[in-house]
Symmetry: D2
Subunit: 307 residues, 4 copies
């Protein structure tokens, strides 16, 4: 007998990131989207009537008739695993409500990322941070908990830095990004601003990269002390953030030596930091964003934080 | 002595088309932008603080300090020539108010285009329609008047059809357009919708092209009876609408013969309509839109409808 | 026991279309690429060393070590099904050599498309044309045969026209295309020519569309007599040709009636031809090009023309 | 009386950079293109027949009838100022031939850039290097001389670094570039490689940036000793290289202090180098490339190195 799948709800399911959650969960082995929640103007409508072109039609064959519900725990009858694609402006308190009500919440919003006992989790990088949910539950006395995933640029960057950090230590990282438009959601970037152009500014992005990288690479209770400096640019690509990275390790290394433990492009010597430089590319919605959140749920399930 | 320039006001001056009006008027020989009007949220602010990247900076050296006023005649002290870049949803009554108050109004909105005594003017094509303002003033008893310019796609199409219409008559026109994103204003088309894509639908555009082409090519009082059928598509270009045109003339003609009176690309025989086919390209904001409105003002000045 | 797969060879395997053949055949249920042939400068090299970024890396895990052979029947030891992605300039005689030597040849080149006894085959549209290979073999006394697939634009167009032709007859078709850059091969279109631009000319394309559509929609021995007029444009999209179609049927029909037998976008009345107009989109390499050739091989296998 | 203009010849005049030279010289106050030279396949043809779409048509009204000549001094009858847009593979000896024959040569090729007595000249940055032509003439015993302009990325970078270097000294520079496709010439980058993509590699570019920046910022006889590390990427923009720069000055400075002497975008503190970071954008063909070469000719004229 095939065991029943666990119910999942996507908060902010009508936005681009929310649609991506629904899309990625469509064929999940043990999770199924059983509810979609969004803001008032969508509540009560069939899900299919609220989404645009960011979701594949066949996904809606199954889920298009789901009636959109309010993003509150009251709207749910059963245990659910909660995926939050809510905009940062509103995500904070709503996610807390769900955690209070006993739900495990996996959030793509930045609201709680830097809370000391919220794991900022990039599962291949810092799985051991998952244990922070215990401290979180002790402090909050909630039945549920919140797990955050990093900003998509950081998700990709930290994945490439992790083996360097573990083997050689890291002192300094400079990263210059070329980020895809899907990172800005929908409608997001106006076509007149980006077609045949580069936008050399993404609000709050550099700060997030600099801060989150240290939290992820540190221990659960103590951030790393890498000096990270980012310059973030938007380019006319659809999906996939590409990052030019310059890194100075604590123990000096060579590109050849570094290559033994990491897999990136154009790994070569960097004279400026007396370190190495390389190119890393990752899908911002699949390896960052929604995809990272789902990996986190899988990790917490495997670690028995979810029953 | 250099005579003083005439004062011009741009309504909707903070939008993309409004900025284009201001830009194109920047070095006009006898017109100068002396007022900029916009919606409540911009009123009272310096113009420079209300515009984005759609205007060249040096234009703002002169005009950036102008305080944005309300789009009502009351906000103006003097005679002005009025250029309207208002959105169609609000343009109609506001433009009437200005005409009532004695101002000549040159409008890019579609609100009044099909009014029987409002000239739909594309000056190289139907300058003689300008005289309709007399009938308009008789009917309305306004001191001012409204002149409309066509939809940008029609402006470009009708310019290419005019010589065919005059020499051979026109029975049928099929046009398939590839339109630039600036035709949709700002923020307009979302980059996720158009980057590396074609959008095969532009709301109301086909209807406008089919209707306006006949009004322009007819006499001031009687539209032409050309059967026009359009398929309008948006493509990832910034400025410039390109149109593939198939035309059947009343008197049969050849590409060679047609070429003597028109200047387009790839003029060749069309077997389907037993006519000709060709490509025409025009700048949607300069030959259509704002640029066409300014040409119209120049025409009505030359014809003494403006003192 | 799983029966052994049939051997396939791709001629012109190092070009973009050739790589697409190899890619699409990678998981074919009963065909496997056992040889790759190309021009002299690639002969003798491992296939992986001759291809660029137009093929997915995992395909090369299996096939990358194949040594590229000459595009002549002599280079092959066994019965093969031949897929030709050769450039039109050289395809004709090479494909004949293979057919002479007993191989079934499925060609994407235009060389033999209009030969009266070469099926121009778009399998969902004119499967019955396959029988032409019998006449071809009688005439040529070859042991093998040549089957051509249409130009990619025509493949997509004829698929949409077929139900109209069958139910209502077709008198006139006007089509204006917006074609992707992959239709021009690699390196193909220079980025300076197409980025943020439309190229309103594709050499020989309009003639092919007009001619091939009639051959496909006719009987095996008699082309249809539809008047087809095309205007072909290149737009900055990567894959997928989009076509704006205007069609006049012999028996008048309505969009509602037509919709019962076809599946396209924006099906609506067309006033110019007194017919219907619509938008059709197809993947130029998968539904046209390589993909169509492979479908053709599947058809001829099912019809027992291949043992 | 208007004095006669000086005659200029453009070598490699049919390529994209050559066309840009001709275009930029079209209205020059004291230079006029009197000869165009190119490779054998163009020699003898009218210039208009050898160029593509990279030049404005009105320029060809005047120059289109010029017959293309061989790129050798023999082909010229008179004193000419020579602008070289030759490909680097052939530029070296041809430019030497012209210098030997007494012509002043302004070259965009990289062949002679690092020769110790060839000025690598970016006129607003290191005008004093012009004097190197004296040493060059002494060594070579040529009547003419060669002046090189930097690689376009370096031209833009060094312009932004110069005020920092002069006021604070420079220790380390990291630069990550987003370069336009016109930097690769025509046909240059294949559209399939760059549309909706970033190419994180430009052959030899990083080495040039690292080397040339030091030559330019040094004295005429001694390069600077800045540690420069570059990561060069191509993005889908047409003209204009954008560069994310991280700089450590010898005397520490702040963004506010630095801003007093330079004009760039997003000047802010950089924690990694304990310096500053900023964005600089320049037109690769106008401020680098052809435009820089012409500025160099103007400088050497002003400094009386050209009579």
């Amino acid at each position: 007998m095939v065991p029943a799948k666990k119910k999942a709800v996507v908060l902010g399911a009508t936005g681009m990131m929310g649609q991506k959650f629904v899309q990625l969960l469509a064929n999940h082995p043990w999770l199924e989207v059983s509810a979609v929640a969004a803001s008032d103007k969508s509540v009560g409508k069939p899900y299919a009537a609220t989404v645009g072109g960011q979701i594949q039609r066949h996904v809606l064959d199954d889920l298009g008739d789901l009636q959109v519900v309010e993003a509150t725990p009251r709207a749910l009858d059963d245990p659910y695993i909660v995926f939050s694609a809510l905009p940062t402006e509103v995500a904070g308190p709503i996610e807390e409500d769900f955690a209070k009500a006993g739900f495990p919440v996996f959030s793509n919003a930045s609201s709680h990322r830097m809370d000391h006992d919220v794991p900022l989790l990039n599962p291949e990088v810092n799985a051991e941070h998952a244990s922070l949910v215990e401290a979180q539950k002790r402090r909050t006395q909630w039945d549920g908990f919140i797990v955050a995933n990093p900003n998509c640029t950081t998700a990709i960057l930290s994945l490439s830095l992790k083996p360097l950090y573990d083997r050689f230590g890291l002192e300094t990282v400079i990263v210059s990004t070329m980020q895809a438009i899907s990172g800005a959601g929908y409608p997001g970037v106006a076509s007149l601003d980006i077609l045949e152009n580069v936008i050399p500014f993404i609000r709050n992005e550099e700060e997030k990269v600099e801060r989150e990288t240290n939290k992820i690479l540190g221990t659960p209770t103590k951030p790393a002390t890498i000096t990270v400096s980012a310059s973030c640019q938007r380019v006319p690509t659809i999906h996939g953030h590409i990052e030019a990275v310059f890194a100075k390790t604590r123990t000096p290394t060579s590109p050849e030596e570094a290559a033994k433990s990491m897999s990136v492009g154009r790994l070569r010597r960097d004279s400026a930091l007396n370190g190495i430089k390389y190119i890393v590319l990752g899908h911002n919605l699949v390896r960052g964003g929604a995809g990272c959140s789902i990996l986190n749920a899988e990790l917490l399930m495997a670690q028995k934080y979810i029953q």
